[in-house]
Symmetry: C2
Subunit: 166 residues, 2 copies
């Protein structure tokens, strides 16, 4: 099971590809897609769309995990996040992949063990779970890895419950 976690933003979109190998988690790749703040918004969204398609083609994930986005008070940022999220999700569906959504609290709960974990704690736990010497950078890539881990953990839990009930 290979999962692409994605943390969309117009300027920086973090991604992280994680798979379960036997009982352990392993990172396949991570990074960030960036768009030029000098370019028109539509051009940046097209660039992001192409970048997401490239990541999907390179890593061939089985499914995608994305944040269930809620809006904060910053209207300008919120719009850009919504637009970037739309482009990324459309690309995933175009590739025939199912997208699973998790709230930030669900991700922290799953990765760190409690929903109020700090970004630093998430990064450290991601590094530990993926046997990396330090947290993936930029922070968006670490968040994306956390999303992928969250999905893998929850899928495992789901299977265990189904097995116990069978």
């Amino acid at each position: 099971m290979r999962i692409l976690g994605i943390d969309p933003g117009l300027t920086t979109t973090g991604y992280g590809v994680v798979e379960r190998r036997g009982g352990a988690l392993a990172v396949v790749g991570f990074g960030a897609l960036r768009t030029s703040t000098q370019a028109p918004v539509a051009t940046r969204l097209a660039d992001l769309s192409a970048g997401v398609a490239k990541v999907l083609g390179e890593f061939c994930p089985d499914a995608v995990a994305a944040e269930r986005v809620f809006f904060n008070s910053n209207v300008r940022t919120a719009m850009a996040v919504g637009q970037a999220s739309g482009v990324a999700l459309a690309r995933a569906a175009e590739a025939g992949l199912e997208v699973f959504h998790y709230t930030p609290t669900e991700v922290k709960q799953s990765v760190v063990g409690f929903g109020a974990a700090t970004k630093k704690q998430v990064g450290a736990m991601v590094a530990s779970l993926l046997a990396l010497s330090s947290a993936p950078t930029p922070a968006d890539a670490a968040d994306a890895c956390a999303l992928a881990i969250c999905h893998i953990n929850r899928s495992g839990l789901r299977r265990a419950i189904e097995g116990a009930l069978a």
Copy 2:
């Protein structure tokens, strides 16, 4: 000059294609792209993306006019509008088209003559300017036509000013 106006939404995206023929405006086509509320969000966004690409291919506009989106209090709607907008703008840029953004007030000012015009007044004025017997439906298509008209009007004004200064 043929302009595609687009009013993005996850459930209904209105579009209207308007061109200037001599001194008059003429409507080339209008309508709405709808996605199933039963489908997952990513699938709906991929469907919308395909629909926008089809409209671009069918009408071959010279440029795109879109609303400069601001968020209202409804967070759930805002997210969906942002995502739909992202997909539509990316498609326009992928087709090599420039996207021009106008606020709702700019559109009303340009089409009706005052920025506080009602939706009904905008619809009636769109019908009148495009020599239609009634306003385009759904309302999203009328709004999209208004965006296209706004861009054509403003481009004409821009050219006139440039000509006077030359």
